[in-house]
């Protein structure tokens, strides 16, 4: 047990190092540019909209995309590469169990995702801070250094929106969603060896996962007549996670009240789902001949 945990940690650290040395962090530059472009875009043209909502939407979409890229490519490139380049033979000739390999790879990717999400969140917070300062300065300038009652209200709203602590929850939700996508990608990586195939399958699950709720309703409602349609709905409802559930982050971006007690069950759902999927991956991999 102690050895297993140590092995998992060592493999995770190796996976993380590999990704970092492949210079994946350069992807962050793209995100920086996105944030910079986004905030200067709304400052320059009078957006006549909720500036902070736009910035948050942009940041969350950016984090989702970059995270998805990291998760998909990480799992779909690194795991098949171990098999293809036969480094896994060396690894498994040591007293290392296959599940330790799978768990180590996964946790290494989770560590990578955590780093990415944290760094992107940092960049995002700086952008928010900058924009809040700019808007407040504009109000101050307009009022000649003193704020009217309405302006004070407005500045207060800017502050509340820019420094909303619930954004941590939204980031946690994105992170959990990305971790779940990663484990699904790991599962596909244990059965297939083509990166394109693995990525396509995972993306398919990702998209269908956003419709899973509808499939579930129909499946439980039992209103569908055709048997093949029923089987399809059952498969979607039973096998695919409900990704829409993570969109509670939309509520947070909209500035509506969401508490940790609302977020925690979703994080727990993602955690248990990831654990089950990881176990399934390990079982599949255990049975696979290399």
């Amino acid at each position: 047990m102690g050895n297993s945990l140590r092995h998992i940690r060592v493999i995770a650290a190796n996976t993380f190092t590999e990704a970092i040395r492949q210079k994946v962090l350069y992807v962050l530059v793209v995100f920086c540019l996105l944030m910079l472009g986004g905030s200067s875009f709304i400052s320059q043209m009078d957006f006549k909209g909720d500036d902070f909502k736009f910035m948050k939407d942009l940041a969350y979409a950016g984090i989702s995309l970059v995270g998805l890229l990291v998760a998909l490519l990480g799992a779909a490139l690194l795991i098949p590469a171990e098999v293809e380049k036969r480094t896994i033979y060396t690894l498994l000739s040591k007293p290392v169990r296959k599940f330790e390999f799978i768990a180590g790879k996964y946790l290494g990717l989770v560590a990578l995702l955590t780093l990415f999400v944290t760094l992107m969140a940092g960049i995002f917070f700086i952008a928010l801070w900058g924009h809040e300062n700019a808007l407040t300065a504009r109000e101050l300038a307009a009022g000649g250094g003193r704020l009217t009652e309405v302006q004070t209200q407005l500045v207060g709203e800017y502050r509340a929106s820019a420094y909303d602590p619930a954004m941590i929850q939204a980031l946690a939700l994105i992170w959990a969603k990305l971790c779940l996508v990663t484990v699904i990608c790991v599962l596909f990586s244990t059965v297939a060896s083509s990166t394109v195939f693995i990525v396509s399958c995972t993306l398919f699950v990702y998209l269908i996962g956003h419709l899973q709720m509808i499939a579930r309703e129909y499946f439980l409602g039992g209103e569908v007549a055709q048997w093949w349609w029923k089987i399809f709905l059952a498969a979607v409802a039973l096998l695919i996670p409900d990704f829409q559930t993570f969109n509670l982050s939309d509520e947070i971006i909209a500035g509506n009240t969401v508490r940790w007690v609302d977020t925690a069950p979703i994080l727990a759902y993602a955690g248990v789902y990831a654990l089950v999927t990881l176990t399934v991956s390990a079982l599949v991999f255990e049975g696979r001949e290399l």
Binding site: N3, R6, H7, V10, I11, N14, T17, E18, R21, Q22, K85, R86, T87, Y89, T90, L91, L92, S93, K94, P95, V96, R97, E289, L290
Partner: protein, 285 residues
Amino acid sequence: MSDDGQREFAVSAAGLTKTFTLEWTRKRLLALDGLELRVRRGEVFGLLGPNGSGKSTTMKMLLGLIKPSAGTVSVFGAAAGSLAARRRLGFLPENPYFPGFLSGREVLNYYGKLVNLHGQRLRARVDELLELVSLTAAADRALKTYSKGMLQRIGLAQALLHDPDLLLLDEPTAGVDPVGSRQMRDLILALRARGKTVIFSSHLLEQVQEVADRVLILHRGKKVREGTLEELLSVRGQSQLTVSGLTPELQTRLSAWLRGEGAELLAAAPPQQKLEDYFIKAVGQ
């Protein structure tokens, strides 16, 4: 050595068979057919055969990477692939490829931790092995800058990390230059001197000849020969003499005399130096 037959052998396999089912056509492919294999402790054992003869399949089954379709295989009495078995063997894969982003030292540290070495012991062991495979100078360079021979040596070093009793070397000299090849051979002999069991596969027969105590020849998944090199290679009823100062005239007389004694001179030619030896001498090693 106990009386228990299992204990005497580092590896024993009985009726080892492997069939692969091709994924789409569902055709069955017999990769290994009823192999009997016993490798004694302390032996250097060569597994010979052309490509596709079943060498790699045998190796993989010894490692437990694939399961036999029929038959059994054990390593020091433990089921092949079990943790107990893997704790006692080291493996050098064919054309070893290691994470190129790591340096030689890092890759040994990585694998060292996976065989449960850590701290001071790990550091000491890594230094020792780098020295053994003469890579101390290149230890901190990234593996992607290593030559084929260097990779082979770092591969051997990682196989030796936990000081295993059995070494499995898959084509250890494939694609390696003669100097590297000779180093590998010397290392194998050094390991034998320390009582290790070595099983290696090769299709380069000459190299096998120099180190193997016993060889097994595989062809299309079946054992065709097995034995010591002496048993397999000596030509019965013939002997070889090496003479200096043999003039053509003397040769005629010798030939006539031999015929008179009921023997016959079959061949006479100056003995050829082996090109490998010549080469090694030429490059000053």
